[in-house]
Symmetry: C2
Subunit: 439 residues, 2 copies
């Protein structure tokens, strides 16, 4: 009988047991159509019992349907964890402490896989054993807050994460690193930017686009550079630290309210939108790329406003959009809508009466652009002028996703629509950048 087959059940489990395969074994699976070789990896969360998942040599995982499997054989043991925790140097001056909080995602789950443990991956020991350089940079304290794919992270998690960061700051750490899935990392970075004001130290969200067992992995570089930044960077803001380009080893830090995942798979998927990144880190050298940032000041008194209201929607307009969707939100007692309009901030004129109804029902309605880059300008065409007359608020160059999170945060602070409108238009965390020159 096989030993460690975490997450498998039913017929998948029976098949694996029969072949004496364990997590980490090299397996060869012949299915209806072709043959796959790879390492058996554990399954998580809502896994069905109909698939066996292996990590191919190219680093991607594939799920193979059990009913399609003609043959499953073990062709060897997988690599055992190759690193052991280096001793923490006792003859060096005491290193600054950095908190690493894990919420899940590739950067955490791959480390899970390496150590073979699914639900307790991110101990300081695990981290040191995977990224031994960390022990040279900081005294790392770790906390597993969630183990979630980031598409499942939402307002309640933002609040808990913000509160956990406050605890770390109160403990006097030098900086905080948050491991997070990349899918919704920009939503969370925006949320923390609004929830944690007057930050004394940097908060750096970090993820990886490739698992740490792939030659092209960005996990170790991103984590090392994030911890380096947490220790040394003079910027006390919420930032996202990810690869700068497809080919290099540097990390760029994006402002939490001004970044977005712009590629499904590339390591440099995150871009700063409408602004320069804040900093670049390469080989432990930090270059600051902007003159305008909040300076690190351990004495600064943090302000926590961690409430978010989920009855706020992001509504993307498109050709053929059904305006009755707007009515649905009104009927569901939503507090506000962020429209993702076209161009300079437009929607079809068949939406006008529905938006007017929403405004008359007390909803706050803001406008962003699905162009992503640029700034809405609702004074150029009649459509924009008409929408402003109806009461739609132009949200300048704020990203649609940031605007959504901000409106959720705004209605977490007040349910008064006038106060909410004022707060929405107030620049809280550099979510608005200064007026750009139209070229």
């Amino acid at each position: 009988m096989a030993g460690n087959i975490i997450g498998y059940k039913g017929i998948a489990l029976k098949l694996l047991e029969a072949a004496k395969v364990e997590i980490g074994s090299n397996v060869k699976i012949t299915s209806d159509r072709k043959t796959f070789e790879g390492i058996l990896i554990p399954r998580y969360e809502l896994a069905d019992d109909e698939h066996i998942v292996i990590k191919l040599r190219n680093g991607y995982n594939i799920g193979i349907k059990v009913t399609s499997i003609a043959k499953l054989e073990k062709i060897g043991e997988g690599p055992k964890p190759a690193f052991v925790s280096p001793p923490i140097p006792t003859d060096k001056p005491r290193l600054p402490t950095v908190s690493i909080i894990s919420t899940g995602g590739t950067i955490a789950s791959r480390i899970d896989y390496r150590t073979g443990a699914v639900h307790s991956a991110l101990s300081a020991h695990d981290l040191y054993s995977v990224v031994p350089e960390l022990s040279e940079i900081a005294n790392v304290e770790t906390k597993i807050l969630f183990s979630l794919f980031s598409e499942n992270i939402r307002a309640i998690h933002w609040s808990k994460l913000a509160e956990e960061i406050v605890t770390c700051i109160e403990d006097g750490v030098r900086g905080v690193v948050v491991c997070h899935g990349t899918d919704t990392m920009a939503y969370t970075s925006a949320a923390l930017s609004f929830a944690l004001q007057n930050l004394p130290i940097p908060i750096i969200l970090v993820g990886s686009q490739r698992s740490s067992d792939r030659p092209s992995s960005d996990a170790a570089v991103n984590l090392t550079n994030a911890v380096t930044s947490a220790v040394s960077i003079p910027i006390a803001e919420v930032m996202v630290g990810m690869h700068d380009s497809v080919s290099d080893t540097s990390t760029v830090l994006h402002r939490g309210t001004k970044t977005r995942k712009c590629h499904t798979s590339r390591r440099d998927a995150f871009k700063s939108i409408n602004v320069s990144p804040l900093a670049k880190i390469e080989e432990k050298n930090i270059s600051i790329l902007t003159e305008e940032y909040v300076k690190r000041d351990p004495k600064r008194k943090l302000v926590l406003n961690s409430k978010f209201e989920e009855k706020v929607a992001l509504v993307k307009f498109y050709a053929g959009f059904n305006p009755e969707i707007i009515d649905w939100y009104v009927n569901e007692d939503y507090y506000g809508l962020v429209l993702e309009g076209t161009g300079l901030g437009h929607v079809g004129n068949n939406l006008f009466s529905h938006i007017r109804d929403a405004v008359n029902h007390g909803l706050l309605v803001g406008m962003t652009s699905q162009c992503i880059w640029g700034r809405v300008n609702m004074n150029v065409y009649d459509t924009g002028i008409d929408l402003q007359e109806i009461g739609v608020i132009p949200l300048e160059d704020m990203l649609p996703e940031t605007a959504l999170v901000k409106m959720m945060w705004v209605f977490g602070q007040t349910k008064n629509v006038h106060k909410a409108q004022r707060l929405l238009k107030t620049n809280i965390a550099n979510e608005f950048s200064k007026r750009t020159i139209y070229l």
Copy 2:
């Protein structure tokens, strides 16, 4: 009493009449806060009677609230149309005929403004007088099909436009140019790509980001290069022709299914996504940038499938998304949903049961990514595997907007969900590109 004050009514009209101001007059308006100088321009469509709109020297229009106006004076007459139609050269060989179909948008409305006529702007004479070079390139035949801001263009317009293009092709023209607002130009270019198959000649959509009376206008260059391409390019596909960069005078042609407006205001707002542009035109020189395209062949027999079904929705997922929206579409008897998920094609697991219900009710559900760049891959994480099990179709590297238009077109061809699924997965107009290498 003043003469031509098109579009003004109520108190705005009274104020203008009192100052003896006409459309095209130079005016100086002092309002609560500051003084504006510019040219009075006509108002369109749903204009209220509370604003007076002038074109500032920087080329942007501004609407000034009548109640805020302290003083309004005429400071001169505006420039009269400066060009007259050059005689069509009779001693040259007969030029090929190009059809220009106008649907509205900046490129057409600014020409309207210049000629002073709002609803009949795009005669060949108007075009020659604004862009005299055209008479050297082609014998232009013009048609005003609509006068719409493109945010108001939807499926019924796509069908009519496709049918109008068929008429032009049957008349034996060398190529067709479509003037279109930029806001939804990419939706229309995708729609035409599916509706007009087996094209014998090029169809080029063209717009402008700046009005033709601004020094930085892209209207004349884009139009000239579009007509040049219509005459000479060897590619018989639906394309979008817009500025290549902010500074130069060249136009790039993007494939109709693979382009997107990625900036609210820059002249080079359109980008080819996940592929190279098809061609570049500069100073009448055409460079073809790809080896794979459909060659011009006047004998090829066009196939028209111009029906679109509007009961198809684009649903953008985000942190905090309310899954009951999915139920709403089911209850409204929608045929299909295109999800705009995160990363490689994910949504929160609280949507799973709702998506399963939708599929069980016979809806076709496809997955695209809000990353915009890259390809969905639903075999990497459990979320993707689970969603495929539920019946969600990964839509490769198709843009979310193109996927929406395609699904609308698919259900215009068949209401059978199995046939629809097959058609959705079939590469009709290069909306799928070949598998890219993951870097």
